[in-house]
């Protein structure tokens, strides 16, 4: 799938290696969707509550809050997801507190395979399909997912449950969760990468796992922080000859040569990634901002325009 209908999905999960720009891409997708009049929820999972500040708001909490017109955010953490779910099961808060607020029990719950992932994913998917007066509550839910390995665990939960739970309410939950996640009309898993060796390798592996191991609908691959092509080979030659010229020419030539070399390496990695994933990438520009905030995210959203 190309990126062109990405924002018409109900659920877009954004993942990739740590630090590649997942939160930035999530925030920019939300901004773009809001520009098109959509009501968007960004759910941050284990993401250090970075999205809302990138949109100019206070860090998200466990309660859904609107940060910009049309864009709400929420921080989904295992503790609150557990509390919500446990209260649904045990009903009485005093019992909940006696049992679940115990330090040892908390540790035990972390050691139960996939429990945290199940609860967090359940909460997000519940938002993605919830309706108010017959109409979807959100046109789009963007998930700022954890980095690679954790994301695979998270997205693999319904499948794992279906394989192990024979029947009952948990299995019914797993069934609708898997139906939503694996539906290419409603869902896409978008990847973010950088034009560097390790991120490219990791992205290609992740992409293969999402397709083969999890059988989930693969969305576009965003190649973030791509330096622009600014200088021809001839110009680079000329600039190399004046590296030691007095300022501003010398420093400018050095900056340009460094930029051009970075661009050459980045292009090689871009080609490698395109070949490894077997489809076109959506490049996003490397931007020089002193502080990474809403203005930067707006520029990334502008760059996405026409591509998603």
């Amino acid at each position: 799938m190309s990126g062109s209908e990405l924002l018409d999905r109900r659920l877009v999960v954004v993942t990739g290696k740590g630090g590649v720009g997942k939160s930035t891409v999530s925030a920019a997708l939300a901004m773009l969707a809001a520009r098109r009049g959509k009501r968007v929820l960004v759910a941050e999972v284990d993401a250090r509550e970075r999205v809302a500040p990138m949109l100019g708001g206070r860090p998200s909490g466990p309660v859904i809050r609107e940060v910009l017109p049309g864009i709400s955010t929420v921080d989904v953490d295992p503790r609150h997801a557990l509390e919500e779910y446990a209260l649904m099961v045990v009903k009485v808060r005093a019992i909940y507190q006696a049992v679940f607020e115990n330090r040892v029990v908390r540790f035990f719950l972390r050691a139960v395979p996939s429990l945290a992932e199940t609860l967090m994913l359940g909460k997000i998917l519940h938002e993605a399909r919830s309706e108010t007066s017959g109409r979807p509550r959100w046109d789009l839910v963007v998930v700022d997912a954890p980095a690679t390995g954790h994301a695979v665990q998270l997205l693999g939960v319904p499948r794992a449950l279906l394989a192990t739970v024979p029947g009952g309410p948990l299995r019914r939950d797993a069934e609708w969760m898997q139906a939503l996640l694996s539906d290419p009309v409603r869902t896409a898993i978008a990847l973010v990468s950088l034009p560097e060796e390790m991120p490219v390798t990791e992205t290609a592996e992740l992409d293969a796992r999402i397709g083969k191991e999890l059988s989930l609908p693969r969305g576009p691959v965003f190649l973030n922080a791509m330096p622009r092509e600014l200088y021809t080979e001839g110009e680079r030659e000329r600039l190399r000859a004046v590296l030691d010229a007095p300022p501003p020419l010398g420093p400018a030539a050095r900056a340009a040569v460094l930029q051009a070399e970075q661009r050459v390496r980045a292009s090689a990695q871009a080609t490698r990634l395109r070949e490894l994933v077997g489809r076109p990438l959506i490049p996003l520009p490397l931007l020089a901002f002193d502080r990474w905030g809403r203005r930067a995210v707006e520029r990334i959203a502008d760059a996405m325009e026409g591509q998603v």
Binding site: G19, V104, F108, P113, E197, M198
Partner: protein, 379 residues
């Protein structure tokens, strides 16, 4: 030799910490390489090397095996070490399994624990498990081998303090009295069959089993029951590791990229190391954009720069005006990166007083011994 390597001169153990992707693995290998160049017998124990670096160090897929970096590999990079460099890749799961085998009273207990699902979760995916095992491996290597210097590269931690806290946190659970009482019915169920659990009287266990299913719970019970006899051995060892970390022969090395988040994390860790009495040998700001403008006060605006560039280029022939504008923009963007990097380097320098080195962004990845040597030259 730079300030960091000098500060590490008397050390036998270096532990390299920082957030993911900042260059911990590269810095670790460069430290080990540089001591080997001077005649030391050194080991770098890494966890997630980039593939090409792993190949360059001769690290195959085999985990936990120390391998000598072959002389040909050095020769290919034009390096002639006076000492020896060894490399190994930490295998977290195997380290856990070895530890269980070491402490288990008999083979049956060992196998029962290794096959337990809760054990598999604790040893595989539980937060802090990698950090715990990295420390465990370090202790084993430092007590049972005779390297001049062991450099421990650390996993991309989501919570920096896991290094210091995970062993106790994990052990407190497995050896916890309350846990044994809470899960007592489940422990019985583990021993005598799951039926008992359903009839069990433990209020907590009953509530939990409604929540997780009873077989998971009996796995916990079984795990805790089996672990009971091994707890003291584990605990003793964890406290020996902790003592090791406070010795003057150990030095922590903080690595950060010049980004606010990464510096925050490094400084947070720095404060906790100080509080815990663990020696910090120095800090590295890695992949720093160099400041190219020689005058104080920063660049004049883009337009005057473009004009001056156009004038300087004019003698070179036609078609240069557009080039001047592009150059002015590139210089301005470069300096914007350099400025924000310098701000973060300064924050790191102030926040973690002591030896500090700034390593520039090198041309290309650090993926072989010559790359490591180039990196080491800045340490």
């Amino acid at each position: 030799m730079g300030a960091l390597l000098r500060s590490l001169e008397g050390k036998r153990v270096a532990i390299v910490v920082g957030s993911g992707g900042v260059g911990k693995t590269s810095v670790s290998a460069a430290i080990a390489l540089s001591r080997a160049m001077e005649g030391g017998r050194t080991l770098v124990c890494t966890i997630d090397p980039a593939r090409r670096l792993a190949t360059a160090l001769g690290l195959g897929s085999l985990g936990n095996a120390e391998a000598l970096v072959p002389a040909e590999a050095f020769a290919r990079s034009g390096l002639a070490p006076k000492g020896q460099l060894f490399a190994m890749m930490l295998d977290v799961k195997r380290t856990w399994d070895d530890l269980v085998a070491r402490h288990a009273p008999d083979a049956a207990t060992r196998d029962r624990i290794l096959g337990n699902r809760v054990y598999q979760q604790v040893s595989g995916a539980l937060a802090g498990s990698q950090e715990y095992m990295a420390m465990e491996k370090l202790y084993e290597l430092s007590t049972e081998r005779d390297y001049d210097l062991i450099v421990l590269d650390t996993p991309p931690t989501s919570h920096a303090l896991d290094f210091l806290e995970a062993p106790d946190r994990i052990l407190d659970f497995v050896g916890n009295e309350t846990a044994r009482k809470l899960f007592a019915p489940a422990i019985d169920a583990g021993r005598f069959g799951a039926r008992l659990l359903q009839a069990g009287t433990g209020f907590v266990a009953k509530t939990l089993s409604r929540f997780t299913g009873s077989d998971v719970l009996s796995d916990v019970g079984d795990f805790l029951g089996q672990f009971q006899g091994m707890y003291d051995g584990f605990k003793e060892r964890a406290s020996a590791v902790r003592t090791l970390l406070t010795q003057p022969e150990v030095g922590f090395v903080l690595v950060a990229s010049p980004s606010p988040l990464s510096v925050d994390e490094a400084l947070f860790f720095h404060d906790h190391l100080r509080k815990a009495g663990m020696p910090v040998a120095g800090a590295v700001s890695n992949r720093v954009t160099p400041d190219l403008w020689p005058f104080p006060g920063g660049l004049p605006g883009t337009e005057p720069v473009a004009e001056a560039l156009a004038a300087a280029l004019a003698s070179a022939g036609p078609g240069t005006e557009d080039l001047a504008a592009r150059l002015a923009l590139t210089l301005q963007e470069h300096q914007a990166f350099a400025r924000s990097d310098a701000r973060e380097v300064e924050r790191m320098r102030r926040g973690a007083p002591g030896p500090h080195v700034a390593v520039p962004r090198l041309p290309g990845d650090v993926h072989d011994l010559s790359g490591l040597a180039a990196l080491a030259a800045h340490l």
